[in-house]
Amino acid sequence: MIEVRELTKRYGSTLAVDHLSFDLRPGTVTGFLGANGSGKSTTMRMILGLDSPDAGQVRIGGRRFRELRWPLREVGSLLEARSFHPGRTARSHLAALAASNAIPRHRVNEVLDQVGLASAAGRRAGKFSLGMAQRLGIAAALLGDPSVLLLDEPVNGLDPAGVRWIRDLLKSLAAEGRVVFVSSHLITEMALMAERLVVIGQGRLLADTTVAEMSATAPSLEDAFLAMTEASAEYRAAQPASALTSRKEGSS
């Protein structure tokens, strides 16, 4: 289980993440929804220990990310598609990662097959299309067969077949009892992929709910999301930021 508690991050005068708390449980795909600039990526980066929170904490099975014994075997992540050196081949990239966590070398070929990059394994990753780069990132996330998967916008750049593939893959990974946390601003995709939802706006939690519950509040999930984030913006405009508490009309 992942516990996010009172997570707060400030960049200069901007409060990117504001006392954000939620839990992620195994066995379901949890969607992470929010408008551009709502703090999704920053939250992901803090869960992965890339950025340090100004306040609050994240615990992954009771530990901080930096304290994980075999990070890649415990948490697989994809933050941005191009998170590799362009001069390295896909196979070398994955081989280096495998070595860092004593992951058996045969896993490299297995995940290359799994994401459909086997025939491109010897090519330098800098030449990859966005879709291929995304697949390489997913291969890296799957390499350690982790029980937690954190994916930021994984469907970016994928063709329709690729989108369906990742959706089915993530559902099956969750069904195996893993924590699967996926951010996206594609609401319709979230409706198909996720069971639970964490919705944030301007760094604060708007809803910690299920797709079914949230969809029931409006004609569609998209309408519900837009109504929720709209309300948050209006509420913010009318009140000084310090008067706000994290939970509001979101789940009502």
């Binding site: 289980m1 195994p26 980066r45 992965l48 220990g49 890339l50 950025d51 340090s52 099975g61 009771g62 990310f65 930096r66 994980l68 014994r69 075999w70 990070p71 890649l72 075997r73 415990e74 948490v75 992540s77 933050l79 941005e80 191009r82 998170s83 590799f84 050196h85 362009p86 001069g87 390295r88 081949t89 070398s92 990239h93 081989a95 280096a96 990662l97 070595a99 860092s100 966590n101 004593a102 890296a140 067969d145 029980s147 937690v148 009892g177």
Partner: protein
Amino acid sequence: MTALAARVPAGHYRFRHAARMEWIKLSSLRSTWWTLAIAAAGAIGIGVAVGINTRNAAGDLTNNALAGIIPSLLLMGVLGTLTVTSEYSSGMIRTTLSAAPRRPMLLAAKAAVFGAVAVTVGEAASFIAFFAGGAALRHGIPAPALTQPGVLRAVLLSGVSFGLIGLLGLGLGAIVRHSGAAIAVVVGGVYVLPTIVGSVTHKLGVFMPIDIIGNSLTTTKPEPCSAHASYCTHFLSAWAGLGLLGLYAAAALAVGGWLFAHRDA
């Protein structure tokens, strides 16, 4: 999380795992091998050219044969810098830290692997340059031998300087993080600054990395004071020079490591 715990093997990742990752990362880039090959070829080629043109048998023939080391070190400094900064420019740093999030250990592994590669290439280049430069001597000048006083030390320390300049670059890369800016700092700090400092005051010039390498590490005997000069430059001894250069590299790595551990990636 019991299910998760059961799936993960005992123990935890260690320095050797991070070092293995860094070795694969370094060795799987073609640019690494090109840069190392050009650095070695430059050091050897210049040594041969100087050997061919040497007419003064009383000069420091070992130092002459190692004359190509300093230009080659520029490439080692840049390569060391890029070892860190390319992680940031490519976004690889996110992936690296998701695999090995203990940052001081990660930087230590990076430095150990790169330092070992740089010293290995440096020693090979220095010994080949020494023998090739000696063999290229004409005008009946005999080639220097490793058994002569100070010669083996000069050749060995010349190779070590590849590692130290490489690590200085790596540390500066960790401090500055941006490739272009970091390379400017390395080139400026190691090559341009000494020229300025040296022209202002020779007393400080001897503490500059280039002077340490050229006049302390790779010499077999102290530079004689020129009879015509109004001053006499006292260069550091080989061992004092080695210590100071090591201190520079260690300081850059320590500051870079501290910043790496405390800054957002």
